[in-house]
């Protein structure tokens, strides 16, 4: 979980407290890099939250144990966040190009 949420932000922002505040506390990411940090991090957390749902069901599957279920959810959420942020980045670039032309 920490890899998904904190490491990208730590690498990019370092100790710039204002940046941390902007992305995580106020949730107002600016620019592509911010999006790429913000969305997957939130995606991982939300994915992990949803990943906990199959646990009480009595299907007796191996992957329903803790923490496998939740981890799968986190990974899935992270990937979805990545895809979304890449999509947004591409979309943004296209708009910039159009404006430039």
């Amino acid at each position: 979980m920490s890899v998904f949420t904190f490491t990208p932000a730590a690498c990019v922002f370092g100790s710039s407290w204002a940046d941390w505040h902007r992305v995580f506390a106020h949730t107002k990411p600016i620019g592509c890099t911010d999006f790429m940090i913000c969305l997957p991090a939130y995606g991982a957390v939300i994915g992990a939250w949803f990943g906990a749902w199959p646990m009480p069901l009595d299907w007796e599957r191996q992957w329903q144990e803790w923490p496998i279920c939740v981890t799968y959810g986190a990974i899935l959420g992270y990937l979805v966040g990545m895809v979304l942020s890449s999509g947004l980045a591409i979309f943004h670039n296209r708009r910039k190009h159009e404006k430039g032309d």
Partner: protein, 918 residues
Amino acid sequence: MSNNNKLTCAKLTLFTVSAVIIQIIGLSLFIVGFFPVKPTLSGMSGLESFSPPGFDPAQNISTLPPEKLKSVYQELSGVPPLFDRLILMVIDGLPAEFVLGRNEKPPPKVFMEAMPYTQSLLGSGIAIGYHAKAAPPTVTMPRLKAMVSGAIGGFLDVASNFNTQAFLDDNIIAQLRRIGWKMVMLGDETWLKLFPNMFDRHDGVSSFFVKDTIQVDYNVSRHLDKELGSTDWDLLILHYLGLDHVGHIGGRNSILMAPKLEEMDEVIKKIHSSIIQTHKVDEGGTLLMIVSDHGMTESGNHGGSSFEETDSLALFASAQKFRDVENRKEAYQVDIASTVALLFGVPIPVNNVGTVMSQVFTFLEDEQQLRLLELNSWQLLRLIQTHFSEFRCARFSCDSSNDKTDGAESFCCSYLAAASLHRSWASKNSSRSVDEDGYMSVVLAYRDFLGTASEWLSSRSTDKPIRLLALGIFAMALSCLVLTSLLFLLDQKVNSKWHLDESFIVAVIFILVLSMGSSSMIEEEQYIWHFMTSSLYFLLLRRTIQSIITNGKQSRGSSDRIYSIIAVLICGRILRGWHQGGVNWTYLTDISKLLEKKGTVYINSLHLLSVIFIIVCLAFILLAKLPKRRFSVVLLLLLVYLFPVLMILTQISTNQDDTRLIQMIYALIGISTVGILVALPWLMPLLDPVSKEYSFGDAVYVIGWCYVSSWSLLQMLLQQPVNSMPTALLLVQVLATIRYFSQGGVHIKQWVKVASLYYVGMAGHFGLGNTNTLATIDVAGAFIGISSHSTIISGILMFIITYASPMLALLSMLMDFDVRAFANSDENVDLGHILKMTLGYPCLVPLVLNSILLVAYTIVLLLMRNHLFVWSVFSPKYMYVCATTVCVYIGVSIVALSVTYTCVVFATRRKLKCSTSG
């Protein structure tokens, strides 16, 4: 503010109260429709079953020894017993169509070839087989009960037996025991649970290991030779589980099915050969009955009401051929009880709704066969009589021109017609004139009565009156809609931004509603509540941190708020770990199990510690809120509570149940609470001397504090000792939540506060060890402090113990009340407006939340009425939902009445003061 003037306090109260009344009516209609209370006869049938209804013999049969009783029954019945021993072979999960085919078509070739001996018995007429249709739920225990008692049980029968599984109703096993039969049971241990101490020899097999198809039957068959060789038993029950397990693993067409059927056929051959060998002419032989409790679907499962699942077998085989008879081989599973009773000369069980399978009795004379029908009719007539009060059959005059209306009259006429035909046939018969046609007409008349009576009685148990249920649901949905729209009308600022935690609160309800459709989610509901509440508080924490970062650290009480939320989260986690709860994982360790292992010393010291902890918390929170100058009030309160507290401490440390002491504690707590409620608004100084504000808010706070303290102290007394720390933790959670909300700063809407408290209450309910099954209700605690037996008081105590947490949360709403409306109003105090502003949200939000859950759950229950788990999971949960509704009603009423009273008193005092000073 302008749009609120339309909704005055009076209108609001009127609509709310009427919505609640509609909801109660709807709920009652639904419950009456879904859980029918069918009148039953208590006790066991005895000599009176051999006389017509209305004649009660004077002789008391309980004093007769079994042998004598047997001969008395034989004398009275007039039917000679055809057999003197019974072998009941239950093949679990065998559909009748494997053996008998379906709709005049023979069974599949594979199955016919797998059971050659049985097919030969059927072909040569030595055996007769019936399709005995079973009633849902097609699960072993209810079906066995129906087989032996002839009565179709409902949920209320299950619920009333939730303490013990022993079958206490009248049934053929008990009747046979009474006449001195010795019984041996080999097979499914369900029989041992249903009839403890009735079997002279037994070898119970656990039904738990579904994957085992071989050992489970071998364990039964290994005793077979020995038992068939011995002569000391009269009833031998063999219950084979293997076939059911084969079905569960591989379905109907599993490759293991044919070999298993061959194995069963071998067993049948062995038993039947032994019967033929031991059969002596002119002595009653042994009857072999092969039955199944239910069938199975294509995939091998069972529990519902489809044809494949309800198609059970009832096969009779003996040493002699049955006479050739017509081919009507459809019957009901409940017919087995009356048939067996009449075969062996015991009274038919008193609540039986089945009709006798006549073709088994073809060895008897015509006269005796009519006697069987007569006995069966008398028994059904007696049962029908309990459904209609003031029913005496002799009073009705039946014309043939009467329309066949439903009700007592039509049954009576039908029976009287048969009885009179019987009488005329009997008189003709005694004059030695054979009258074949007359005989058939008597039989048809009896069958007509028996058929309609049996159908009517069965439908009383299984039919769900859809119109009644739909009306109930409609009423409940209507009330829910009314309450929700009232809530929306109350909302002051419609345009403000919705925060994440607010949407989350709404989302929780939707998620809960969706999860109710899954039986696992209902069984493990504690996880859902804990998960949702913790997530909600994490979101609140995030919001607080956000606001601190935005506004800087100067917002007052910011660290207080963070500590409060963290306290709630930590307590929540400990509560989750205290009781494992649920149904599927109860074997995992939890804190309470660890404590119980450690010993009572630890538990008692923890109990004492929790009481002290609670007292400290309560004192702290009182002192923290009220300013120093109110010291006199504080002192008074603490003094008042000192006595009950001391008494509770003594009670707990002596660890003996001193009834007088406990009753004194009840009385003291009750009197102090009511006394403070009534007296405080008058005694409290009207204006705060320093801040010149009305102390209405303080008064409400103190009253809320009183309720919370009394309730917590009561719980300390009533809950199990191992549950005392969780109650303390729950109190900490509630108080921390209150503290968080009351420290200004982040502006949280009032409905969010109320909803959060409600959720904490529900999560805590499961944290105290309650689940959605009836088994976790603490029955022992309901008798604390009662000197004489009283169902009502025990019921109230049980309710207090079970619903400790939700009630605590509801009562604590008083400690964080929005009383600005009182301060802001002018000289002419508009009582209605104040009450609406103050009470609107705290009363409506719990009602709305509960209504949504109630309506959603009722619909789920209706949809799941034929589900496998309807009686074991969904119905108990429904009982809990109803009890929660009652809890919410009571809590909201208490809050509403207390605040109304205080407000009225303060308004009066204010008016008086203004008029005297002005």
